[in-house]
């Protein structure tokens, strides 16, 4: 029998930061879906919405998401050692 480890309720600040980064990473694609769908609600009945505007918006969103993802992922990659506890997906936070 393995000794049952008492689950901790909180983690140390550095680990905490990493976990919040991961949370951000999880939200990123959802934000992406929302933003990508947004041009569909532009303009209403008039057909005055310009392709060029939508294109600029979409590429802006795209670049923004990539940049955010880059920042978070770089941070996470540095903290790979911290990730293993998260990998077990227990609910310590």
């Amino acid at each position: 029998m393995k000794p049952v480890k008492e689950p901790k309720l909180f983690v140390e600040p550095r680990n905490y930061r990493t976990r919040r980064m991961v949370d951000g990473l999880r939200v990123l694609p959802m934000a992406g879906i929302f933003l990508i769908a947004m041009p569909l609600f532009w303009g209403g009945s008039q057909d005055s919405v310009k392709s060029s505007a939508v294109m600029l918006f979409l590429f802006g969103v795209w670049i923004g998401l990539i940049f955010l993802n880059y920042l978070i992922t770089r941070r996470i990659s540095k903290e790979r050692a911290w990730l293993d506890p998260i990998n077990s997906e227990t609910s310590v936070d």
Binding site: V22, L25, R26, L28, P29, M30, G32, I33, I36, A37, P39, L40, W42, G43, D47, S48, V49, K50, S51, S52, A53, V54, M55, L56, L58, F59, W62, I63, L65, I66, F67, N69, Y70, T73, R74, I76, S77, R80, N87, S88, E89
Partner: protein, 885 residues
């Protein structure tokens, strides 16, 4: 021009061969580290951008504006959300040595080969048109350079196909890597990825700055073009984003590069931002090129070829050539990886199982499994590319083919519910997955694939449905007419697929192995090390070695076995076939031939002693039986112990009785002897003593008489007891009051000894029932008890208390004195014959209480010693009315 083109193509292909060959060499020499960098991984993902996207995106944009971008946005979102799905897929792929998407599905659902075959067939059906599309894009692009018919389209396609097959076979099936990784292929693809990106960006930069004159003019040109207004169908926008994202996960070639070729989970971190960047760059110049093409080129030019025809019309032949190479790269890399991935699936899930079954009884003589796998893969590559060519040839390469890209996406996407359900939901099972796949695949065929072929359905069939059933119309299923045909098909196939999968999983029960695999895969982050175990008892290490050599190759197999020997701390070449080793070996083999096959092969070698869960359950049952049996034994043993204890106490009692008997016999002989001696001696005196006076004579005679009486009484007691014990006693039933009986008994005792000092206290309730029993015998008992008290009570002022009360149909009479009572250890014996408490001067024979007990038993009652009183206490319990037994 065409000759130059073909020359450049050949040179490019040769360069690719060199790069691939060099990468293989480097990896074989162990210098492959940088070949395995995150950037190479990211670039290899670019096979998502095929010839269809390279040329077709511009055409798509020229026709429907920004909608093309969904094809790139979907995968970008999946990559950005890598933490959700890709991370898990990659981890599972590494932990379970997954070789293809069919292998993943088969592994997850209990190593079911049926599912593997199903997914393989689905993948082939979904991919073949796509390969045809690549061949078409190459021939179309060739046609853009040369309007003459010097080279017919079909011939060009055939040559391209042959070249690609050669490349795939040479670099894809050179060896059988345990990790199913192909350094040469990946390296070549990375180079091609760079080439196609550079080509498209070069054309884009040329168009934006060279033709249209900068970013500002480009934007105004867009506003002036026919795609100026943002006019997309919302359903299609969302559906296409979803479809491309899903296809990114499910396409066999994408799974190959994303999961199977992944060497390090960390590469995913880089790719998660680098690959969306790649996609973004690939699509950045699409709209400008389309707008420029629409503006500059004559009306009626094929927008799919704007990337080539724009530079050509502006006399930029070198740029056009570069663009052509870019398109060629896109097409070839896709075909290479797709055919490789499909060939792995075909060989692992179709050829190997058949071969194993077929050669079940002659594995040993047949030779090299390795060779079989490689040969089957080579043929599979040829077969798949040929299939693509045939499809291209039959469809005639028209516009119908251009639409097939998304149709193909929708087909392979049918795996998505089973895949996601499989990795996130432990309740997903084989029945549900199979049913879901079949339903989704059938709906896809019916509503999208067959209509896309152009002339399969008649107009009446489309308009009215089969046999006039309106709700079965292929493009308006269940009366849904408001959706675009693609969205309609995607909606119905995915939703019914997922629903069937869900319901099928909910109502059926998984096999134990499915449940184990499910737990392993869903909880892959927990690193649960236990899989199924192999019992190595019957397995011969040598057989395993031979088998491993066949599949892994001699060197790798030896290295593996050697490492295990060291691991086990043994010597020699062959490790012990421990379950852990067998599991490791199975995983290694699974890397080459797939999980199901590896499992079957080990099972065959080990002689079918795979410890299946069923076996384990049987063992558990057996164990339960053994437990029960042992419980019974324990119970019996306890019983025996109890009996032994009883026997022991009985024995002790017997020994005690025997000792008492001996003591009594000596007592009896003494008792008999003493009066006998007096009788004898006084009789002698009387006989010889003539001189005796009359007074003396009469005294001696009376002594003889007394002693004789004593002897007679002793003999009477013995006789009485014997009669009672043998049940020969005749009872004289009469009715009388207890009070009278007690009074008579007391009187009798007192009569025998006028000097009695004992005080007798008698408490008999007046309303006590009269007794109907043998009053004389009962009186005898009372007399005995009273005289015992008189004899043995050693108190200073002896006192006997007699009380009586009624209890139910019995009368209870207690005799309690104030003496020291009977010692606890003697209480067990007092009712035995010849029992005497201690060595007492009063010369009883020890028969009194034994006689009492026998009498009371005859009268249907009971006499007991009452513990808990200070003095000796006896309780007599007799029924009010005697009933003869």
């Amino acid at each position: 021009m065409l000759n130059v083109l073909i020359g450049v193509c050949l040179a490019y292909v040769i360069a690719l061969f060199v790069v691939a060959f060099w990468a293989e060499r480097a990896s074989m020499r162990g210098r492959a580290n940088w070949l395995r960098s995150p950037m190479i991984y990211t670039l290899s993902l670019s096979i998502y951008c095929t010839g269809w996207t390279f040329y077709g995106a511009v055409g798509y944009a020229a026709r429907s504006g920004l909608e093309f971008v969904t094809i790139y946005l979907g995968p970008s979102l999946v990559m950005l959300g890598w933490w959700w799905i890709l991370r898990k897929l990659v981890r599972i792929g590494r932990a379970q040595r997954i070789t293809s998407i069919a292998d993943l599905i088969s592994s997850r659902f209990g190593k079911s080969n049926g599912l593997g075959v199903l997914v393989t067939i689905l993948a082939i059906v979904g991919t073949t048109p796509y390969i045809a599309l690549q061949l078409q894009s190459v021939t179309l692009s060739l046609g853009a350079f040369e309007n003459s018919d010097t080279l017919s389209d079909n011939t060009a396609a055939l040559w391209v196909g042959a070249g690609l097959a050669l490349f795939s076979i040479v670099f894809g099936t050179r060896n059988l890597d345990v990790n199913e990784r192909h350094h040469g292929v990946v390296m070549a693809i990375a180079v091609e990825a760079v080439v196609k990106l550079c080509a498209l960006v070069a054309v884009g930069v040329f168009v934006v700055w060279g033709v249209l004159g900068g970013i500002g003019p480009v934007l105004s040109e867009i506003d002036a073009s026919k795609v100026a207004t943002w006019d997309v169908n919302g359903n299609r926008w969302i559906a296409l984003t979803f479809l491309s994202g899903a296809a990114f996960l499910c396409l066999p070639r994408m799974f190959q590069v994303l999961v199977v070729e992944n060497a390090d989970e960390g590469h995913l971190h880089t790719a998660s931002w680098a690959f969306p960047t790649y996609l973004m760059l690939m699509s950045l110049f699409v709209i400008p090129i389309a707008v420029a093409g629409l503006k500059i080129l004559p009306i009626g030019s094929n927008p799919d070829l704007f990337v080539l025809s724009l530079p050509l019309s502006l006399e930029q032949d070198a740029l056009a050539m570069f663009a052509f190479i870019g398109g060629f790269s896109s097409a070839t890399s896709m075909v290479i990886v797709a055919s490789l991935a499909l060939a792995t699936m075909v060989s692992n899930h179709i050829v190997m199982p058949i071969w194993i079954k077929w050669s079940e009884h002659r594995v040993r003589e047949f030779g090299d499994v390795r060779r079989i796998i490689l040969i089957s893969r080579r043929f599979a590559i040829l077969f798949i590319i040929l299939l693509g060519y045939i499809y291209y040839w039959i469809s005639g390469g028209g516009a119908a083919l251009a639409a097939i890209g998304l149709v193909s996406f929708a087909g392979v996407t049918q795996v998505l519910p089973a895949m996601l359900g499989g990795i996130f939901w432990r309740g997903a099972n084989r029945i549900g997955a199979t049913a879901g796949l079949l339903v989704g695949f059938s709906i896809w065929l019916y509503t999208l694939f067959l209509p896309s072929l152009g002339n399969v359905y008649s107009a009446a069939f489309l308009a009215e449905g089969p046999w006039g059933i309106w709700w079965l119309r292929p493009q308006a299923l269940f009366g849904v007419t408001e959706l675009d045909p693609l969205v309609h098909a995607l909606f119905w196939s995915m939703s019914l697929n997922a629903l069937t999968f869900l319901v099928g999983s909910l109502i059926s029960f998984p096999t134990p192995i499915e449940r184990l695999q499910g737990a392993q895969i869903v909880n892959v982050y927990d690193h649960s090390p236990t899989q199924r175990g192999w019992s190595g008892r019957a397995a011969q290490s040598e057989d395993l070695m031979i088998m491993a050599q066949r599949i892994l190759g001699v060197k790798q197999a030896r290295a593996l076995f050697q490492a295990e020997v060291q691991n086990q701390g043994g010597q020699g070449y062959l490790p012990d076939p421990t379950p852990e080793f067998l599991r490791t070996l199975e995983r290694e083999l699974a890397g080459s031939v797939g999980a199901a096959t590896a499992h079957a092969m080990i099972g065959q070698t080990v002689g079918g002693t795979s410890v299946s869960v069923q076996d384990l359950m049987a063992v558990a049952d057996e164990a339960a039986q053994i437990m029960e049996y042992s419980n019974r034994l324990e119970e019996q043993s306890r019983e025996l112990t109890r009996t032994a204890q009883e026997l022991q106490s009985a024995n002790e009692k017997l020994t005690q009785i025997s000792i008492q008997k001996d003591a009594f016999l000596s007592q009896v002989s003494h008792e008999l002897r003493t009066p006998m001696t007096s009788i004898l001696s006084f009789a002698q005196i009387l006989r010889d003593g003539a001189s005796l006076k009359g007074q003396e004579q009469s005294r001696y005679a009376s002594i003889i008489h007394d002693e004789s009486v004593r002897l007679t009484r002793l003999l009477d007691d013995l006789l009485d007891l014997s009669v009672l014990e043998n049940g020969q006693v005749n009872l004289n039933i009469a009715t009388g009051r207890v009070q009278d009986l007690i009074d008579r008994s007391i009187a009798t005792v007192i009569a025998g000894d006028a000097a009695m000092q004992m005080q007798i206290d008698c408490k008999i309730p007046v309303d006590l029932h009269s007794l109907t029993t043998d009053l004389d015998r009962l009186g005898q008992v009372f007399i005995n008890l009273i005289s015992n008290a008189k004899k043995y009570c050693d108190a200073a002022s002896p006192k006997l208390q007699i009380s009586a009360h009624q209890s139910g149909s019995d009368v209870i009479i207690d005799f309690v004195d104030n003496g020291i009572g009977i010692p606890a250890q003697d209480r067990d014996f007092i009712f035995e014959k010849f029992a005497r408490v201690g060595e007492q001067k009063t010369g009883g024979a020890g028969l009194g209480l034994a006689i009492c007990k026998e009498i009371i038993a005859r009268l249907g009652g009971e006499i007991t010693y009452l513990s808990g009183h200070r003095g000796a206490a006896f309780r007599v319990q007799v029924p009010v009315n005697f009933h003869a037994a």
